[in-house]
Amino acid sequence: MDNINNTNRADWIDRYVQGNLNTEELQKFQTTMQQDATLQQEVEDTQIAQALLQHQGLRNEIQAIRASMKAEESITETLTEIPSAPIALEEPVEATEEKGTETVPMYQWGGRIAAGLAIFLIGFLTVQYATLSPERLYEEKVAADPPYLGLSNRSMEDRQDTIADQVRVEYQFGNFEEVIRLYGELEKPTFAETFRVGYAHLQQERTDEAINAFQQVLQDQNAFMISDKAEYYLALAYLQDGQIETAVDMLENIHTDSDHDYEDSLSSLYLWRLRLLKMKY
């Protein structure tokens, strides 16, 4: 690795605190640190931040495991609660049999299992149908998707001197209110800023504004590189807005278009639930 300089300083510190330096590098780093009080301070600050992040990470992991255990327990409970056969029906059948003959159960095991599964399936479909809503499908999709954070001009990515740069930085930090505020100050926003403000509005549940922004991006001929993304988020904005037919049709088209960036992002179960939603409303 190169000598420690301002460009690679942060990488050196990370590798040091994570224990990823080899013997020679470690010696070099420790010698530099002894002569550089600022570096020493930076290392200490990074160690404190890292320890804090590891604490949070451990808590998150345990919480996620517990949540998953509880979800599994709840499914098991639901399955064991399914009646294997209606008990009330069994007794009269036995009562009418002649004395001394072997009792014949009304349902054989195969029948019981089939009946149980049928009840479970009907229950599952009923719950799905009853609880299905555009808000729920929207939330699930947005929660599952990583935020789209690209669209940066590489030569400008560290600069914050223009309002457009600030919009980009605030967007990347997830400060969506600030993105919306700064966007209002732009004289001539480009499709990139318009996309960002559309996404920010979507996150803030300002659906009309989000739809308007994504439509603008789609109408801009220069925005061909992100038109698939804009189309996908426009469909989600329609879903959030309760325009179910439009949203479902757009998402179905995205799924069937093998060239579309978001072709794979919709599972068969999700599409099936979208169709069910369309039937419901």
Binding site: A49, R59, I62, I65, G174
Partner: protein, 205 residues
């Protein structure tokens, strides 16, 4: 092999080994819940707590326990069951003290040496210092928190992080991580006293 058998294969030594060396905590945390949650929950419920308290404090006890093991401070003088129960009991006692409430029924089912008790109290104090600073992470925003956790907790390489987060290039992700880390350091500097406490903890190992 039935489920019961699968679920009971961990001896105490296996648990310690897995915490120290395994990449996944999942099977161990599940085992700890299966074998210890009920006794801890029953203790908390019989001492003014409810089900939610039992969940929260058992989770906290596991965090403290894993940290003790990772620091090499679990000597195995008592079983994990006894040890974990003691951690949870101490955590719950502290909580009741904080709320100015007394224990309704203190039944100690498990014997604990004085030395172990002191060690547990020290680890709990350390956990509290860390918890006080967790709010700062919330001020970072979701994206920053995610990227920093992926790098510093999950130890994922930047190549994977940039794809997972949807950044355009690895360099964008690298810059973002750098900015987020600086933001976290700034937030820590705004709380010099808490930062100093944390520093002392790290220095004391």
């Amino acid at each position: 092999m039935n489920n019961k058998k699968i679920q009971s294969v961990y001896e105490d030594q296996d648990v310690i080994e897995a915490i120290l060396h395994s990449n996944s905590l999942d099977p161990i945390v599940r085992h700890l819940y299966r074998t210890n949650f009920d006794s801890v929950a029953s203790y908390i419920r019989s001492n003014s707590g409810n089900d939610e308290d039992a969940e929260d404090f058992f989770q906290e006890a596991i965090v403290v326990f894993i940290n003790i093991v990772r620091k090499g401070n679990f000597r195995g003088d008592s079983s994990i069951k006894t040890f974990l129960y003691s951690i949870a009991r101490n955590l719950w006692r502290n909580e009741l003290k904080r709320q100015n409430r007394a224990l309704m029924r203190e039944t100690n089912y498990y014997e604990q040496s004085e030395k172990e008790e002191r060690g547990i109290q020290d680890s709990i104090s350390e956990n509290e210092v860390k918890n006080q600073l967790l709010d700062l992470l919330e001020k970072l925003g979701d994206n920053c928190k995610k990227i920093l956790l992926m790098f510093y907790y999950e130890n994922l390489p930047m190549k994977e992080i940039f794809q997972h987060m949807g950044y355009e290039t690895e360099q964008v992700a690298r810059n973002m991580k750098y900015r987020c880390m600086n933001k976290l350091k700034e937030l820590l500097n705004e709380h010099p006293e808490m930062k100093q406490n944390f520093r002392s903890l790290l220095a004391n190992g």
